[in-house]
């Protein structure tokens, strides 16, 4: 037995090591848990070194520019060129400083104007693997960073915290295929889910073919994912294409444009409004509203009588005009609406009242000529002749039956 084990010792150890790692893998996949101890050891070993290297690089870069390149110029022994070189170097250095200051100011400005509580962080390393889409930043759990927090720049969202370690955090970038975030389009307010494609672009999933998304339209976070606060810029739609059920929408993320050096981690998210799409600022001409006389479809205008404009101007709707007409008809016949008992005589609504006429105060003696002639057959005659108004106030004309 001992001989057998020593004979197959190598393969036995290989199988044991692989088996142990398979167990480790199965534990993580099945329980959806991470073996934090091993990762913690690796991250705390590597990230401080990366941070030191980054500091050294930053320091030596300026030194090399200020000294080595300057020294090269002096070796050339050309005074003018040296001075020019110095000025160029200085200019470049100042531009670099200005750029750094601009970035810092831009971050600070964004941090102050956004209601969410944020903390600035610097990217110090990228993850291993050729297709890795995650980076490490120099802020960890000691700075209040937690797993799942959003990582943004003023230009747009960058990713979310995948794991927070004491000295550093791992950030999953928006371009990673496993990344997802709820987005909403700026113009048409169409909702979808942003997913990474593994390279520089992303796509938006779950947008029905019937919904409208335009190329060039801006996308913002919708806040539905409970990771990113609503209203942060995401990117621009570069292409849309109808698919089987959902549209195939490609997005260029704006947060990663030009590389990422400094980022902001959202410690406490506060939702914002989606900014309104800027429309043309040139004033639009609106014609004046039509005069009331023109709005009057028939009636007095048709009979040649002009109604008082001031009085009619308040009659904005047909219902108002009809109500006014009935009121005049009622006044002309000394009838007060709402006072008669059920079954009492209603006013004659077919009377045509002269506009501007005043109602009779009291009914006088019956007129010699009937004010209202009974209608001919085919129309129901009124139950009784209406009270006789003053002849000069009210012009009562018989209504012709329809021919």
């Amino acid at each position: 037995m001992e001989t057998l084990l020593s004979r197959f010792r190598n393969i036995t150890v290989l199988l044991l090591v692989i088996f142990a790692q398979l167990i480790l893998l199965a534990y993580q996949v099945k329980n959806d848990k991470d073996v934090r101890l091993i990762r913690l050891a690796a991250v705390t070993t590597v990230t401080p070194l990366a941070r030191v290297i980054e500091s050294v690089r930053g320091g030596t870069f300026g030194f090399l520019q200020d000294y080595v390149v300057l020294r090269d110029r002096r070796v050339e022994n050309e005074r003018l060129r040296t001075e020019l070189g110095q000025l160029k170097l200085e200019n470049q250095y100042l531009k670099s400083e200005l750029s750094t200051a601009d970035r810092a100011r831009s971050l600070a400005a964004f941090e102050t104007r956004t209601p969410s509580k944020m903390i600035a962080a610097r990217v110090i390393a990228t993850a291993t693997g050729a297709s890795a889409s995650s980076v490490f930043v120099d802020r960890g759990s000691t700075s209040g960073v937690q797993k799942g927090m959003a990582v943004v720049t003023p230009d747009g969202i960058v990713g979310k915290v995948l794991a927070a370690y004491p000295t550093a955090s791992q950030v999953l970038l928006v371009t990673d295929p496993s990344f997802a975030a709820g987005v909403i389009s700026q113009k048409n307010h169409t909702r979808g889910v942003l997913k990474g494609l593994g390279h520089g672009t992303c796509h938006v999933d779950y947008v029905q073919n019937e919904e409208k998304v335009e190329t060039g339209e801006g996308l913002f976070t919708s806040g539905d994912d409970r990771v990113f606060p609503k209203g942060l810029p995401v990117g621009r739609v570069t292409s849309t294409r109808p698919g089987n059920t959902f549209q195939d929408i490609t997005v260029e993320p704006s947060g990663l444009a030009g590389g990422i050096e400094e980022v902001l981690i959202v410690l406490a998210a506060v939702h914002q409004q989606i900014p309104e799409l800027k429309t043309s600022t040139s004033p639009v001409y609106l014609a004046p509203s039509p005069p009331a006389a023109l709005a009057e479809p028939s009636g007095a205008t048709a009979t040649g009588a002009n109604p008082p404009v001031a009085a009619k101007a308040t009659l904005a709707t047909d219902a108002d005009r009809l109500r006014e007409h009935y009121k005049e008809v009622g006044d002309a016949q000394n009838h007060k609406f709402g006072e008669g008992l059920p079954g009492s005589k209603p006013p004659d609504f077919n009377l045509q009242v002269k506009p501007g006429s005043k109602p009779a105060v009291a009914p006088a003696a019956p007129a010699k000529t009937p004010a209202v002639k009974p209608q001919t057959s085919g129309t129901a005659p009124p139950a009784a002749p209406p009270p006789d108004p003053k002849p000069d106030d009210v012009t009562v004309q018989p209504v012709r039956p329809p021919q």
Partner: protein, 177 residues
């Protein structure tokens, strides 16, 4: 010039000629390789395709000619690489464990000091590494990833060229008794 089988297959004397390294070399070189992989691509994105941890694993496994030593180096480097990736721990670990074991077994039979052999081995082991990782991703994690053959072959050649140069440098770190 034809490289004869006599040269390719190692002599029995060579089998016992195991390269030894100091402990700090065995620790710092893989660490530096991992550090390179996590830091340098920040500035030179294309260098992310350089699998320095794999190259270092292959080198130590080939040179030490110990299958157990090779698989342990592979497991250590792989797990460290896993820790800094978004993968579950064990994906790179299992892959590099197998590579370390196979490389050490090959190192017992071939003259691994010759640059041409190193180039071929570097290429083959890179392709093998990518294939195992792809198979594990599909088989164990159920990830729908494609094996990009053409890209893998090109990257394999690139990594093999870098491996030959790096092996030459690492040869100088051998412990001479």
């Amino acid at each position: 010039m034809r490289y004869s089988d006599d040269h390719v297959l190692s002599h029995s004397q060579r089998e016992t000629q195991i390269s030894r390294f100091r402990a700090w070399v065995l620790f710092l070189v893989p660490l530096a390789a991992i550090l390179f992989q996590v830091y340098v691509p920040l500035f030179f994105r294309f260098l992310a395709y350089l699998e320095l941890p794999l190259i270092v694993t292959i080198y130590f496994a080939l040179m030490r000619r110990s299958p157990i030593g090779g698989l342990l180096v592979g497991a250590f480097v792989g797990l460290a690489q896993d820790s800094l990736s978004k993968n579950p721990l064990g994906m790179f670990g299992i892959t590099k464990t197998i590579i370390g074991y196979v490389a050490a077994s090959v190192g017992l039979r071939l003259d691994v000091d010759h640059p041409f052999i190193r180039l071929i081995l570097g290429f083959l082991f890179f392709v093998f590494h990518q294939f195992i990782f792809w198979a594990l991703s599909r088989g164990l994690l159920d990830q729908q990833v494609n094996f990009e053959t053409q890209r893998t072959l090109v990257l394999g050649l690139l990594n093999a060229i870098v491996a030959v140069s790096l092996f030459h440098f690492l040869d100088k770190l051998k412990h001479r008794a």
